[in-house]
Symmetry: C2
Subunit: 124 residues, 2 copies
């Protein structure tokens, strides 16, 4: 059984490669994918794979940060899609066999800062 770091790194590599068999091998049968922003929940390996396969293609994923410990991991990735760079942050729970059992994922959108803090913040 590999570490959570190796498993989650392999997960992103397989997803970027659209290597669906490799993705499937990393997931528990009853994987649950939570999207708290939309309150969507996708249950089961087949639904999870279809969700990704049916998503309009053209996306490319880069892992900026991966932190793992025990059966847990967190990542921050950049998704290049249709000329934009989107961030996603994901929290992974692995099961006792080292397979991904739960993913909670956020897709934070850009926004303009509220006024009143220009004296403290630079923009980049």
């Amino acid at each position: 059984m590999t570490s959570a770091e190796a498993t989650v790194s392999a997960y992103w590599t397989a997803l970027e490669a659209r290597d669906w068999e490799a993705v499937a091998r990393l997931l528990a049968d009853d994987v649950v994918y939570h999207l708290p922003q939309t309150r969507e929940r996708i249950v089961g390996r087949e639904s999870f794979l279809r969700f990704n396969q049916e998503y309009p293609d053209g996306w490319h994923l880069t892992v900026n940060r991966l932190v793992a410990s025990g059966r847990r991991a967190a990542t921050w990735i950049t998704c290049a899609y249709r000329g934009e760079e989107l961030a996603a942050t994901s929290f992974f729970d692995l099961d006792d066999a080292g397979l991904v059992r739960e993913i909670t994922e956020f897709w934070p959108a850009a926004y303009e800062p509220p006024p009143g803090r220009e004296h403290l913040a630079d923009r980049y």
Copy 2:
């Protein structure tokens, strides 16, 4: 020197307590706080403290998940604020002295899911 897990746990506890001296003790002098969604960057302990002190109060933070390894950590928190529950995800880098040197933080907002995936996702 404590672990990244202990330091980041203490950071959220001190922030929730508005114990600014305790927060300050956990931060490097030249801490950098990145907000990629607004492309804001706040540099230095004093500016970081003022940013939090000047933020309209009433917020309450709960840590849902903390993953740490070596000098890095990631958290997913819930911020209760003005009758809403907001999520935030944060990635921490500690320096060699175990102080927080960089924080990259996201505040993902709720949104309605795009149509076409109702056959794969439950709502909660």
